[in-house]
């Protein structure tokens, strides 16, 4: 508790609650493929044929149409990017500065948002060819962060 100059009482609180989110069968397949094989899969709508990454059980556009699995190469085109400078230790999995980007994998109609690495921020350009870098197999555990980051294709951009 603290008091401001005008005698307004401020009460400190924190809501701490556990959650157990079901990824669902569809995302579980995606995440286990990522974990066990370092593979990235998308889903194709049986009606409109759009390919979505992350995968969707139903097509977001057609809504009542199911989707089927499509394996995608772990590389694609950088759509946009940013370098994060602010610090929020309660939230950030990495220490700033670090980078996010949206990468549209080859064959997919949507982009995947993830970290970017092994590249100087000034070298980043939309349209760059990027490739996925995965954690070592023993470190992968079925989370989206089993994918470490995307880096410029063929090694670091310099």
């Amino acid at each position: 508790m603290s008091r401001s100059a005008e005698e307004n009482i401020i009460y400190d609180g924190r809501i701490r609650m556990p959650y157990k989110w079901a990824a669902g069968k569809t995302s579980s397949f995606f995440l286990t493929q990522l974990r066990d094989h370092a593979k990235i899969w998308g889903t194709r709508c049986s009606l409109c044929q759009m390919i979505f990454v992350p995968p969707r059980k139903n097509c977001p556009r057609c809504v009542t149409a199911d989707t089927t699995w499509v394996e995608l190469p772990p590389r694609g085109i950088l759509q946009t990017y940013t370098e994060i400078h602010f610090s929020e230790p309660l939230l950030q999995p990495l220490e700033p500065p670090y980078m996010y980007g949206v990468v549209k994998l080859e064959g997919a109609d949507t982009g995947l948002t993830h970290f970017l690495g092994e590249v100087e921020p000034e070298k980043l350009r939309s349209g760059m060819r990027m490739e996925a870098v995965f954690k070592k197999k023993e470190d992968r555990c079925g989370l989206i962060t089993d994918l470490l980051y995307f880096r410029p294709e063929g090694g670091s951009g310099s």
């Binding site: 609650m17 959650y19 079901a22 669902g24 069968k25 139903n58 809504v63 009542t64």
Partner: protein, 384 residues
């Protein structure tokens, strides 16, 4: 232009304690598909989407924008409402006004919850005022226990009387393939079930469910075009008075009394027991099935046990309650109030397979939640 509104479709998931096979967005999509199929519509026929749940149960902020992939709201008008336990009925009422306003003709309303994903009590506790109430508010159950014990003290009601309510709803749930709990129980089983918070025992109270419901509302012209027997919305009334739990008078459910008074006065109901044909009561625990029917004016305070033991509220009785099995059989909180509306609609439309009350003209759906708040929606076979 204002228009009259009818419900033309209803879909729901098969409610379970855990749906680990789907995430929230996918659960929502199941109900949406079911409702569209029920109404014979495609997502293109939907003009607006209304959605809601209780945020802290899944810890998703801005659920409306998060769930568009499942709700079908991509490139559609979309809005979210949330009012705690009354969320589902609040949503239904919003769906009604969307169409009644004339701004939209066909409105998809979705309520959902994945209660398995959180500590329900922990999450509900955050509804209380952090300065004055949070230290003493320990979840929905103890509050209801206070209500029940106040009621017992005032009128000499027996725990067995409440158990008879639970027996009724569990028997009804056996007729509902969507209900989470579909096995009947006896008064003795209820009385022997573990005490949770006196006088409420395990079989007196609702389960926690993962489930979703979707109801399609349509303006009159479209409703007549698309549906041979819509469930016409006659009236809605809501009271969300009380901001602190200490403000509540636990001997009476004031909000329900006030809401039904407004409803009866405006639609001209003088003898609700006779004039209503079926009630889907948002009744999270058995004692409410006694106390709150008194609040509805069906009998004098303290006299509800007689009504219940006489079978008046059973299927086949004068005024059946919860043919679906009600909240005691299924409680996916953000959907629960909307399930009441959907089930009441099925009754009016004569489509409540396996649980149909004969000759339904007027069906009342209620919502409950928050600090003892009440919502009502009255549906009828003919337009109001």
């Amino acid at each position: 232009m204002a228009q009259r509104v009818g419900i033309i479709g209803f879909g729901q998931t098969y409610h379970r304690s855990h749906r680990d096979d789907v995430n929230g967005v996918e659960l929502i999509n199941e109900a949406v598909r079911a409702a569209l199929e029920d109404a014979g519509l495609s997502i293109d026929d939907i003009d607006a989407v209304v959605i809601g749940n209780m945020d802290h149960f899944e810890a998703v902020n801005y659920v409306d924008t998060w769930s568009v992939d499942g709700s079908g709201a991509w490139m559609k008008p979309l809005i979210k409402l949330t009012t705690g336990g009354t969320t589902g009925s609040t949503l239904g009422i919003a769906g009604y006004h969307h169409a009644a306003s004339g701004l939209f003709d066909v409105v998809l309303v979705i309520g959902w919850e994945k209660n398995s994903e959180s500590d329900t009590t922990g999450a509900i506790i955050t509804c209380s005022d952090p300065i004055f109430d949070r230290f003493s508010f320990s979840g929905a159950l103890p509050g209801l226990a206070v209500e029940a014990s106040a009621y017992i003290k005032r009128y000499g009601i027996k725990e067995e009387d409440a158990a008879r309510v639970a027996v009724r709803d569990r028997a009804h749930g056996a007729n509902n393939p969507y209900a989470q709990l579909q096995t009947p129980v006896t008064v003795e089983e209820v009385m022997l079930s573990p005490m949770l918070s006196w006088p409420i025992k395990l079989l007196d109270i609702c389960p926690r469910s993962d489930g979703a419901a979707a109801v399609i509302f349509a303006g009159e012209r479209k409703a007549r075009q698309l549906c041979s027997q819509p469930a016409w919305v006659h009236y809605t009334a809501v009271r969300h008075s009380h901001a602190y739990f200490g403000d509540v008078d636990y001997t009476r459910l004031h909000t329900l009394e006030a809401a039904v008074q407004e409803l009866y006065q405006n639609v001209g109901i003088k003898e609700p027991l006779k004039e209503l044909d079926v009630v889907e009561l948002y009744q999270p625990y058995s004692f409410a099935g006694l106390k709150w029917i008194e609040a509805m004016g069906l009998c004098k305070p303290g006299e509800s046990p007689r009504l219940v033991w006489d079978g008046v509220t059973d299927m086949g009785g004068e005024l059946p309650f919860n043919p679906s099995g009600g909240v005691i059989c299924t409680n996916c909180i953000g959907a629960t109030g909307l399930l009441r509306i959907g089930e009441a609609a099925l009754q009016v439309m004569d489509r409540a397979v396996g649980r149909q009350v004969p000759d339904v003209n007027l069906a009342l759906a209620t919502g409950f939640g928050g600090a003892y708040w009440s919502d009502l929606m009255l549906l009828g076979r003919r337009p109001w």
